[in-house]
Symmetry: C2
Subunit: 122 residues, 2 copies
């Protein structure tokens, strides 16, 4: 798949809430995922399909999603950007919040090899 | 300035339509600017303050801007993303169009050293 095809498929799956399927089908086994910051519970950088699936499952298990949207893909060479906006409640803190972030993806050999998340910290 | 301060200042100036002032005050003399694609009139990559100022002036001279918006900055380490949306008319073709693009900036030594534009081609 071309970078644009990978981007279109990712956005299509995320719009249906099938984020885990996107990871399983579009990501490289050696995927590297980098947050804008580490948290006490999670390092900024994680690597490998199982770790990234675990990170996605943790997020889905710990948040109630009231609404979600994604816009893009915006391509440039072997990279593309997608904007994600969420209205969520953290199940532990019960705190409802809006998330607004950009994800920068790098495609190698038809698979997503790197994802980097851009967002402002509270 | 930190990456976030540079990003905030860029967005503040662009919201006022002062894009040229942003280039003059926030960009490195060795700025590298990369479009998602070359055009017959312009290479994808341009370098140096004078070239980038020329590129910005060309764009402003050749388009009537009906409305413009920018969202961000979305930071990650020494980089940040800004979304630009424009409603413009090309003065030569008289064609009115909407532009929607992401710009990825890299900051070095408190100045923007690289800008890369992400967008889908017609």
């Amino acid at each position: 798949m071309t970078t644009m095809e990978v981007g279109n498929k990712l956005v299509e799956l995320c719009k249906k809430g099938e984020n885990l399927k996107a990871v399983e089908t579009l990501y490289s086994p050696d995927i590297v995922s980098v947050e804008a910051a580490a948290t006490p519970a999670m390092p900024a950088e994680m690597k490998g399909m199982e770790a990234i699936k675990g990170k996605n499952k943790w997020w889905l298990d710990n948040h109630e999603v009231h609404s979600a949207a994604c816009e893009g893909p915006y391509p440039h060479g072997d990279r593309f950007i997608v904007r994600f906006t969420y209205d969520i409640t953290n199940k532990q803190s019960k705190k409802r919040m809006k998330m607004d972030e950009m994800a920068l993806y790098t495609v190698k050999g038809g698979k997503i090899a790197r994802e980097e998340f851009f967002y402002a910290m509270g």
